[in-house]
């Protein structure tokens, strides 16, 4: 109950006080430059990495990036910069 209430308050605040959602709601902020770069903030860790696939843990669910010739240019506890040819970005959410 309390968690839901908290989420509701946050949702309400962002809607009414014009605060950025990624800060308020711990959502990932994803910046892409064409197909070649993707920059993800607010991730929760690496789950799988190969040159064709990158799987990231998020606060809620996971993020799956597919493509070719992946290289992690930088990785910090909450940020990651991926380089390569990105074909798809998919959210994998557990069914509620």
């Amino acid at each position: 109950m309390a968690k839901k209430w908290g989420q509701f308050v946050r949702g309400w605040m962002t809607k009414n006080m014009e605060l950025p959602q990624d800060v308020m709601m711990d959502l990932p902020r994803i910046t892409m430059i064409g197909q070649i770069h993707i920059y993800i903030e607010n991730h929760r860790g690496l789950l799988a990495f190969s040159d064709k696939e990158l799987r990231l843990l998020l606060k809620q669910g996971q993020l799956l990036i597919r493509g070719k010739a992946f290289v992690i240019k930088t990785i910090l506890p909450e940020e990651i910069l991926l380089e390569g040819k990105i074909d798809s970005v998919t959210y994998i959410t557990d069914t509620d």
Binding site: G45, L46, L47, A48, F49, S50, D51, F70, V71, I72, K73, T74, I75, L76, P77, L81
Partner: protein, 397 residues
């Protein structure tokens, strides 16, 4: 992204991690504050990435806790570069030594060329130069400058009138003019010999011509001594008369000498300073502090450092401070008269020919007033009084 250059200076290592749970390993690394970048996947279960050298030690404990094996592949960056440089320092030392040797050789005396001197004089000059320290293989810094070499050579060697010293690169070029050039046969036109001065003839030596005066004759300036017209009347012939007629001449010389005089002389104390000048910056090498002399004369010698054919803006400076003292000389009256006589003699000698002789002297007058000695001396001198006078054709008839 961070500035790669700063990482470069600290050193970068490439790490290969292989095994299971590489992703977990990377997560733990990033969470414990280790920066990694350029993560690349190499086939199955193996990943390479770069990290800072200073984090390389920390990574081991993390690796032990995970299932990964790590391997250091490549080292890059300044620390490794420096290490390699040290290992190959022989090359650097060689390069440095090469430049040092060239610098040294560029500042050496490599040759001495003497022109215009006959072998005997040349040998003498070489010996004299040797004494001065101008030799092949000497450093130019420790050799006197061109002007003083020139001065010393022309002072110390009698046989040369003038010597021009020039330093071209590493070679000294000496242009010598000798005093006794091979004598040219003197061509004389027909002439008489006449008296230069009023004199009494003491001695005659006539090579050619007809003497018209005799010993003990009193002659006036311009008077005919030796006639250039010889032969009998009607068959005369003109010749260049030649000869020396020594006559006694008289000079009066007056000298005034102060009894008390002050001079500046060098006391012999000196202080030498060596230094390097780079642009306007002076760097002392040896000889510090300022000289404690009250009065001194400064001699400064500057030698540009040369590199091959160029002159560098660096010079070696050699400063010599020579102490000067004031000396007061006080003569007694007697001493003063002696000194004045001496001075008068010297004065007379310098105004006469080399082969003139002082036969006698007579003090005409001497006095002391206002602290000064005045002396007048009459000299009797024997000298050649003959002087050529050309015979103009047609004059003889």
């Amino acid at each position: 992204m961070k500035n790669q250059w700063i990482e470069f200076y600290r050193g970068i290592v490439t790490v290969k991690a292989s095994g299971k749970g590489i992703e977990r390993f990377i997560n733990t690394l990033t969470r414990s504050g280790i920066n990694i970048w350029n993560v690349k996947n190499h086939g199955t279960q193996s990943v390479t990435f770069k990290m800072k050298l200073e984090d390389a030690k920390k990574i081991r404990s993390h690796a032990r806790n995970s299932d990964c094996r790590i391997e250091f592949l490549q080292r890059a960056g300044a620390p490794f570069l420096v290490r390699r440089l040290l290992k190959n320092s022989g090359f650097a030392a060689g390069a440095l030594a090469f430049f040092a040797v060239i610098l040294l050789l560029s500042n050496m005396v490599w040759g001495i060329e003497i022109k215009g001197a006959n072998p005997a004089t040349e040998y003498q000059i070489i010996k004299e130069l040797d004494k001065m320290g101008v030799k092949k293989g000497k450093l130019q810094f420790f050799v006197d400058n061109v002007e003083s070499i020139q001065r010393k050579l022309s002072n110390n060697i009698e046989a040369i009138t003038w010597v021009g010293v020039e330093l071209k690169g590493t070679t000294y070029h000496l242009q010598v003019v000798e005093k006794n050039d091979p004598e040219k046969p003197e061509y004389l036109s027909p002439r008489h010999l006449v008296a230069k001065k009023k004199a009494v003839i003491v001695d005659m030596f006539v090579e050619e011509g007809r003497p018209v005066v005799d010993i003990h004759d009193h002659v006036q300036p311009g008077q005919l001594l030796v006639s250039g017209i010889i032969g009998k009347e009607g068959q005369t012939e003109t010749v260049p008369s030649k000869g020396e007629i020594f006559g006694e001449t008289w000079y009066k010389s007056e000298v005034i000498l102060p009894l008390k005089s002050t001079f500046k002389v060098f006391s012999g104390n000196e202080k030498v300073k060596h230094g390097l000048t780079i642009g306007n910056l002076e760097i002392p090498i040896w000889g510090f502090g300022s000289p404690e002399f009250e009065e001194y004369e400064l001699e400064e010698n500057e030698n540009r450092v040369k590199f091959l054919k160029w002159e560098l803006p660096i010079s070696y400076v050699n400063k010599t401070f020579r102490e000067r003292e004031q000396v007061t000389r006080i003569y007694s009256n007697k001493e003063a008269f002696e000194a004045a006589k001496d001075l008068a003699r010297k004065k007379i000698k310098s105004s006469l020919d080399e082969n003139a002789k002082i036969m006698g002297e007579k003090v005409l007058h001497q006095s002391v007033d206002n602290g000064k000695v005045t002396i007048a001396i009459h000299f009797q001198i024997i000298e050649n009084i003959a002087e050529g006078q050309p015979i103009i054709q047609g004059d003889s008839e």
